[in-house]
């Protein structure tokens, strides 16, 4: 059936192409700490979905456990959500996507949820190139359990409790590139101009899209000495380019100077415009991305923005050759071979 938006809103409130207001994409009131980076990411998701005119119920939001993993309650209240168990969101999302390939899947996780307990599932969902947007709300600590260090805590970073980290951090962006991820970006919860177009592009990508969003924990890891504090990140970010996203339908209105702008056309026809990209950096070349990231790391800088995209990805369904119809829409008639067939099968056991 098709749906008409019930029109019980103030005439002035802006609506998107399919008649929904921003409110239709909001969720419950956040219970996170005032100033938590995670809330900014929720806001960016809301804006991206509103502006892309996605039907709210065509999105499913999934998460593990943590402050970050709580956030799906705070956006897209009209979408089904699944707050699963710690570190296992990828497997739940894989199953969900296998059941219905037509929905848009947004997975939200934390650095503890992904890089510690969830590392195995993370690596394998990357390998399978599952068609989903995977957002890591990376604050370099365990927020919900009161600030322990995580596997992404930077070397020599000092937390609120005054502890210094001596362990090699796991860089999820490098790891994902290494494991063959087809869309990889890094951003900062404080930079919505960058984050929102990245989210839009990631949702348009048909395959696994990782956005590692540095998202400071104001309560346990925003102190001087922390390398995931607002101040530190602001000072040490450099972007590969400024990102602009033009969805498939829209034709480009603003004209860009070809000299300073690079266009990346995604599988679905939508276009990512990269203004003033870094010198000799090619977002469609995996190795150049890894090189650029490492170069910046060696300089103590954090490279943000769109790092790599494969514009013609092969996702899990392609690899296992599942039918184009959502599997959850198939009924007895296609699923059940019937008794006559069963009797011939019985014959093979005699």
């Amino acid at each position: 059936m098709s749906f008409i938006r019930p029109n019980i809103r103030h005439p002035e409130t802006p609506v998107n192409a399919i008649g929904f207001t921003r409110k239709d994409y909001e969720g419950a009131l956040s219970t996170l700490c005032a100033g938590c980076g995670h809330d900014s990411i929720s806001a960016a998701i809301i804006n991206a979905c509103f502006e892309m005119s996605i039907e709210p119920h065509r999105v499913a939001k999934l998460s593990g456990i943590g402050c970050s993993s709580k956030t799906p309650t705070y956006f897209l209240g009209n979408s089904h959500g699944f707050n699963s168990v710690h570190g296992r969101m990828p497997s739940i999302t894989t199953g969900a996507n296998l059941a219905n390939r037509d929905l848009t899947y947004i997975g939200v996780s934390g650095d503890g949820d992904t890089a510690s307990i969830g590392l195995g599932q993370f690596a394998h969902v990357v390998r399978r190139n599952l068609n989903m947007l995977y957002i890591v709300e990376n604050n370099g600590c365990y927020g919900l359990t009161k600030g322990q260090m995580s596997a992404t805590t930077d070397i020599d970073s000092i937390n609120k409790a005054g502890k210094t980290n001596h362990f090699e951090p796991i860089d999820l962006v490098n790891l994902a590139l290494q494991l063959g991820a087809t869309f990889v970006a890094r951003s900062f919860s404080g930079d919505k101009e960058q984050l929102e177009p990245l989210i839009k592009a990631a949702m348009s990508h048909r395959g696994f899209a990782l956005i590692d969003v540095i998202s400071p924990c104001v309560t346990f890891n925003n102190n001087p000495g922390s390398k995931k504090s607002y101040d530190f990140v602001r000072e040490h970010c450099e972007a590969t380019a400024t990102v602009d996203f033009v969805p498939m339908e829209k034709e480009i209105t603003t004209s860009y100077d070809p000299g300073t702008t690079q266009e990346v056309t995604l599988h679905d026809g939508s276009v990512v415009h990269l203004h003033k990209p870094l010198a000799n950096f090619d977002p469609c070349n995996r190795r150049s991305a890894m090189r650029a990231i490492k170069d910046h790391q060696e300089r103590g800088e954090v490279l943000t923005g769109l790092l790599y995209v494969d514009t013609d990805p092969v996702d899990l369904h392609d690899m296992i050759d599942t039918t184009n119809k959502p599997l959850n829409s198939l009924k007895e008639d296609v699923l059940c071979p019937g008794n006559a067939t069963l009797q011939t099968i019985n014959g093979s056991f005699r």
Partner: protein, 621 residues
């Protein structure tokens, strides 16, 4: 040739093959069992294999019984031993007057000579060296040759064997001739050197009717295909691997979209069991029928997710093909050791629905039904098979499917339903107990742009799926889950009564309860006991929670023997726990050495107890 006692038997024989694994003996041995089957005689083969790929002893035990006793029976009538590693122990297993067939290429070690059994040497290796060039062939055909010899010894119709070879090699016809030749080599040799047939032999009967010879795992895999499973996530582990292999095999034949040639199903080999059940939960949550299969260690690893599915009320179908635990235990031996672990899987107050199949047909039916139950009850349903049932061929009623049958997808609201509810000024609540049976209404993601979406979580929430830490709401919810668990009793399969024909009309106050693969041996035991005038009534448990029938059965008995194939009497404990029966009323009969239980073992335990009782009584009086 030998004047020793020779046992004689017609269609009541146990034959055992002792071989080395990885030498292709499996298919030859299976040909033997299939031949008996095709002669119309009930047959029950059991494969005893090591947790290893090549070079270790492996056995294939075949019980032939026109009486239809398909449980395991100890004491080997005819042993074919072509493995020097195991010969010493193989010899010991033969019954006095029994027959021992061995490879006489090298002389028999005198220490292996018993004066109460009969030896028949055939120079298998020598024959193969003479007949075949390449080593692999020599290895393979040795097995076929001894089947040929057995055909002569036991009087198996040779044409049946040649037919079986033909069936086996459709598509590879050029392999037929050499195999038939190998059969003949054995057949001729036996006839030439021994008086064939032996006093133990087989004779055509018409006792099979339309029965089939098949493994439980094939039944389970097929059941899942017929039940409409579309998403299968698994991680390899013996003995459950072949459940998914069977599903995939048949799905690849029966579930291909004619238009596109694409698959109307998805099978994903997960990175581990946590991921496998996670995918299953995700798919079920999203409205697809999904299942996973595992064994022992996988059950432990799935604990956290089973608790989530129980509490968040997501359907899960899990096939547990049990093996000997704890830990890695004996991965290729059979047991029923996960009853407790599955009934109460996960931390916190949890209970799970269990099904206990006893034969391949029940593997098929119960696996199919598990999907209806899981979706109706919105909770995990675990099919408790075991290695013996799952991996061995069993004589079974043929699989049946009622084409009129529609899947029970349980309580799910579609968009119209959601609009209705609000039209009537109502409000949809995922966990509202609208019908009083403890089961709420689900909606699938993507149903409606503004209605019916909810948030699934493993944390405490109210009837509208809103997070809460309110103690009363939490407790109400927990009580509803208990209510729902009781509702399960209206849907799960009922236990089945058994009694010996000889006990008909002889009321008994002694019961015997069993489940799963203990059924064959126990039913046989009932006959033996009845023959001694001990009339017991039997009840085969098919599901947990226990329905009223189980209660009533125990009520109607002074004492009940409970057969468990585990050390701790787990089913007995579960009965005591859940039915609040007096433990003294339930007597444990425990078999847990990894070999399938036998009727003799059961009889022995029952007699011991009953004799002890009457002895005690005599004292009293």
């Amino acid at each position: 040739m030998s004047d020793k006692k020779q046992i004689s038997a017609l269609n009541e024989i146990v034959v055992k093959f002792a071989n080395v694994n990885g030498t292709g003996s499996a298919s030859a041995n299976q040909m033997f069992a299939k031949a008996i089957f095709r002669m119309g005689i009930p047959v029950s083969p059991k494969n005893l294999f090591p947790s290893n790929i090549q070079g270790l002893p492996t056995w294939y035990e075949v019980r032939i019984s026109e009486k239809g006793y398909m449980g395991r029976r100890e004491g080997i009538d005819l042993m074919v031993s072509v493995n020097s590693q195991s010969m010493a122990s193989d010899v010991k297993e033969v019954v006095p007057g029994g027959y021992f067939v061995y490879d006489s290429t090298r002389p028999l070690d005198i220490r292996l000579i018993r004066d109460d059994i009969n030896y028949f040497g055939i120079p298998f290796t020598e024959i193969c060296l003479r007949e075949y060039k390449n080593p692999r062939q020599r290895q393979l055909f040795k097995n076929v040759i001894y089947i040929g010899a057995l055909a002569a010894m036991l009087d198996i119709e040779f044409s049946i064997l040649t037919d079986l070879v033909a069936d086996q090699f459709v598509g590879k016809e050029k392999l037929v001739a050499p195999n038939v030749h190998a059969l003949e080599l054995g057949y001729q040799y036996a006839h030439k050197h021994f008086t064939c047939p032996f006093p133990i032999r087989v004779e055509r009967r018409d006792l099979i009717k339309d029965k089939i010879l098949v493994t439980g795992n094939s039944g389970a895999g097929l059941g899942a295909v017929y039940a409409g499973a579309t998403v299968v996530a698994w991680y390899p582990i013996t003995p459950s691997t072949s459940v998914v292999e069977a599903f995939e095999k048949y799905a690849n034949r029966l579930r291909i979209d004619p238009g596109t040639g694409k698959k109307n199903f998805a099978v994903v080999q997960a990175e581990d069991e946590l991921s496998a059940i996670g995918m299953t939960i995700g798919a079920s949550w999203n409205g697809a029928r999904s299942f996973t299969a595992t064994s022992g260690p996988g059950i432990s690893l799935m604990g956290e997710f089973l608790g989530l599915a129980y509490f968040a009320e997501v359907p899960v179908v899990l096939v547990n093909v049990q093996r000997a635990g704890p830990s890695t235990g004996m991965p290729t031996r059979t047991q029923q050791p996960d009853v407790m672990a599955c009934a109460y899987a996960s931390h916190g107050d949890t209970k799970h629905v269990l099904l206990f199949p006893s034969c391949p047909k029940e593997c098929f039916d119960q696996t199919a039904q598990a999907f209806d139950l899981a979706e109706r009850l919105q909770t995990p349903v675990i099919v408790m098979s075991d290695l013996d049932l799952g991996m061995n061929d069993h004589l079974s009623e043929p699989f049946e499917w009622d084409d009129a049958r529609a899947y029970d997808r349980g309580k799910v609201h579609d968009a119209e339903a959601l609009e209705e509810i609000e039209k009537d000024g109502g409000r949809y609540g995922r966990y509202l107990d609208v019908d009083g049976d403890g089961i709420g209404y689900r909606t699938y993601p993507g149903t409606h742009p503004t209605k019916g979406s909810f948030f699934t979580r493993g944390t405490s929430r109210d009837a509208y799926a809103i997070y809460t830490e309110d103690g009363d709401i939490y407790a109400e919810n927990m009580d509803r889950l208990t209510r729902k668990f009781n509702t399960a009793k209206d849907y799960i399969p009922k236990p089945v009564l058994f009694e010996s024909a000889a006990s008909k009309g002889k009321p008994s106050s002694i019961g015997i309860m069993f489940y799963g693969t203990s059924q064959q041996a126990t039913v046989e035991a009932l006959d033996y006991l009845a023959a001694d005038g001990l009339h017991l009534k039997g009840l085969s448990i098919k599901a947990f929670p226990f329905t009223q029938e189980v209660d009533d059965f125990i009520e109607s008995c002074e004492q009940v023997f409970v057969i468990d194939q585990n050390r701790d009497g787990q089913m007995r404990k579960l009965l005591i726990n859940e039915l609040e029966v007096n433990p003294r009323q339930l007597i444990a009969v425990l078999n847990y050495d990894g070999a399938p239980i036998t009727a003799d073992f059961i009889c022995q335990k029952v007699r011991q107890k009953l004799e002890a009782d009457s002895a005690a009584e005599r004292k009293v009086n």
